[in-house]
């Protein structure tokens, strides 16, 4: 089942399927190893709900919902 990255609940894991972000952000995400096929874990949401902390390849990254909305993940049902 495919959904946006920002739809993941805290503690939920997913696998990235595709990215529809603009070049600048794409480059930045690539530097952190965010590519199709990478496993992502939603660690926690900020108290206001935005940004959200994810674990990717051992790194903890905070992303704004506006940006993670353009990243799609596959979640095991």
């Amino acid at each position: 089942m495919e959904m946006c990255l920002n739809c993941l609940k805290e503690g939920q894991q997913g696998r990235i399927t595709r990215l529809t972000v603009d070049t600048g952000l794409h480059r930045r995400l690539l530097d952190f190893g965010l590519t199709a096929g990478t496993a992502v874990l939603c660690l926690r949401k900020s108290p206001s709900g935005d940004p959200v902390l994810y674990r990717i390849r051992g790194t903890m990254l905070a992303l704004r919902n506006k940006d993670s909305g353009a990243v799609f993940v596959e979640v095991a049902p």
Binding site: G49, P51, R57, A62, R64
Partner: protein, 594 residues
């Protein structure tokens, strides 16, 4: 020349290794904003000198931010031996940059740092295999414990002396994605996790520090704590320094008499220049010497990105970036440092917003004056004073957010930028190193600035105070001239003139003010009471202290960072406009209430 450079991701321990290699034989740029300046140092080993450059942390060579572009530019231009640093706890991610570095085809050694941390987390790295995959030497390090540093020195010597062939690979340009894939493959073969991994410290701490309630609570308490420590802790050293300078001043006076210097000359030199510089240094140095080490300790520990995480939402809705909260914290120490620190914000639009609003946060130089006004009119022992200061700070934060929003709706219109923030694992801060570096960098720099800025200002003020028009000094005459504007703003002409003359450094405003009111001297409290100073005037003065044009050093820094007169003018205008408006408003309210 034996030159080498340290390259790697942020938080990988480059600075720790750099310090371990060079010790005290190093210097940074004039503003020690972390990872923003290139640090250069040297060390001697077996009779030869080695020159080391610590490049800013970067995630990639084809980077988008000017801060990271420094690395790419440097490597393109220089022929240094590259020390590519990896984080053993984050091997896969670190390898992405390493692979890009190896593709440059320059002599490289890969150092895997933080081996001790990896061991604690139950990670096991097959270094021999890694070396085979990367085809360059791989050295394990725990730079914080100085483990592996001697081996590194020895290995470098062997390469430079020609005992070993220089390690490099043919330069290959590859698509960005393939580096990620390669890094993953290599890490998969070399990395293994032991069973029974303990839950790590970072996760446990973040559960509290990023908690919806406790997170903000801790932030609030920490800020209050740092504030209180700075304000209280600086008291005695400031008095001590002033005492020393007074003693020295006495000796200088006697020397001047001995040399039969004309009174106007000794007056100008000793009362004008020396006394002013002495005062600025004794007021300015102790708080900075406390604040910046504390701030750097928090940064070393890894807490600051958490602050950006907790505050990003508020800033994003103002059209700015969460990292602005960090530049504001730096501005608390010194606005010019805060302005330079804005380089950590990638988006040019958001960087400008942070730049232009940095002066809305009061720097260390304003604390003593603020505290004096608070104590004089609103009473207060140490804690109460700090609490009032915190209220002022909250007002400053609110105004910053308001102005940021205003800017992003008018002159700096644009979309909220993309925001990718890494939260590094918590690390034990290197206390000794931090304190020493902070003190050295700060001390030398502050002393330099004090002399450069306070000296001419002191001379000018002395001249104005001692040249007379009729039976009043020029200083008093100008103060009277400014009285109408001053009282319109709820203060008086003397304070307004003090603000103007104190433009080089906020520390000067209060002393100048007291000097104008009472050229003979006396305690602040006495002088203010004798001149009819009321609590309403204190309130307006406090507001204007918080919101007025930045000091000339800050303005010069803004000009340097933006390269534009337009933005510098706006940086001066914004806080002044708000300060004046607020003062006018307060005065009107006071008048209405009778």
């Amino acid at each position: 020349m034996r030159k080498l450079c340290l390259v790697g991701n942020p938080n990988v321990g480059k600075s720790t290794l750099f310090n371990a290699l060079t010790g005290l034989r190093q210097h940074t740029g004039n503003w020690p904003g972390k990872t923003v300046e290139v640090a250069r140092g040297e060390y001697s080993y077996k009779g030869r000198d080695y020159f080391v450059t610590d490049l800013p942390g970067t995630y990639s060579l084809s980077s988008l931010s000017p801060e990271e572009a420094v690395t790419e530019e440097y490597l393109r231009g220089e022929e240094d031996f590259i020390l590519a640093l990896c984080d053993a706890t984050c091997l896969e991610r670190s390898l992405i940059l390493v692979l890009q570095l190896l593709a440059l085809g320059k002599p490289t050694i890969v150092c895997v740092n933080l081996m001790d941390e990896a061991q604690k987390e139950g990670l096991d790295i097959d270094l021999a295999r890694l070396e085979k995959c990367l085809k360059v030497p791989v050295l394990p390090l725990s730079a914080g414990k100085k483990e592996g540093v001697e081996e590194l020195r020895e290995l470098l010597r062997q390469y430079f002396d020609g005992f070993l062939p220089v390690p490099s690979r043919p330069s290959l340009q590859d698509a960005a994605e393939s580096y990620v894939q390669k890094a993953q493959d290599i890490a998969a073969t070399c990395l293994s996790e032991q069973k029974g991994k303990k839950p790590n410290l970072t996760e446990k701490l973040d559960a509290v520090l990023l908690h919806p309630v406790w997170g903000y609570g801790v932030l609030f308490v920490l800020l209050l704590g740092v504030f209180w420590l700075t304000v209280q802790g600086a008291n005695y050293p400031s008095q001590g320094l002033q005492w020393c300078f007074d003693r020295l001043g006495g000796l200088l006076w006697r020397g001047a008499e001995g040399l039969s210097l004309p009174t106007w000359l000794s007056g100008a030199l000793l009362e004008g220049i020396y006394a002013t510089v002495a005062r600025v240094v004794s007021v300015m140095l102790p708080p900075m010497a406390i604040f910046f080490p504390l701030f750097t300790l928090l940064e070393d520990f890894g807490y600051l990105p958490r602050v950006a995480f907790l505050t990003d939402h508020a800033f994003a809705s103002a059209g700015a970036c969460g990292k602005q909260s960090l530049t504001m914290c730096m501005g608390l120490g010194c606005n010019a440092v805060g302005v330079t620190g804005c380089r950590i914000i990638h988006s040019p639009r958001e960087r400008l917003i942070a730049l232009l609003t940095n002066a809305f946060v009061p720097c260390n130089g304003r604390f003593p004056a603020l505290l004096l006004l608070i104590t004089f009119s609103f009473g207060g022992n140490g804690l109460r004073g700090a609490f009032c200061l915190l209220l002022c700070l909250l007002l400053c934060v609110a105004m910053t957010l308001l102005t940021s929003r205003l800017l992003s709706k008018t002159v700096l219109r644009g979309e909220a930028s993309s925001f990718v923030l890494e939260l590094p694992p918590y690390r034990r801060p290197r206390v000794g190193q931090v304190l020493l570096r902070s003190m050295l960098d700060r001390t030398l720099f502050v002393l330099g600035r004090a002399a450069a800025v306070a000296a001419p200002a002191g001379l000018l003020i002395w001249c104005l105070a001692n040249l007379h028009l009729g039976n009043e000094s020029l200083l008093g005459w100008t103060a009277d001239f400014l009285e109408p504007v001053g009282s319109l703003l709820g203060m008086n002409g003397a304070l307004l003139l003090a603000f103007l003359l104190g433009s080089p450094a906020n520390e000067l405003v209060l002393p100048i003010f007291l000097l104008i009111l009472s050229p003979q001297g006396g305690s602040a409290g006495e002088i203010m009471s004798q001149n009819g100073w009321t609590w309403q005037m204190s309130l307006c003065a406090i507001v204007f202290f918080l919101f007025h044009w930045p000091c000339t050093t800050t303005l010069l820094t803004v000009k340097k960072e933006t390269g534009s007169f337009k933005w510098t003018a706006l940086a001066a205008l914004l806080p002044t406009a708000f300060g004046a408006l607020l003062c006018l408003l307060l005065t009107a309210i006071f008048r209405i209430l009778g």
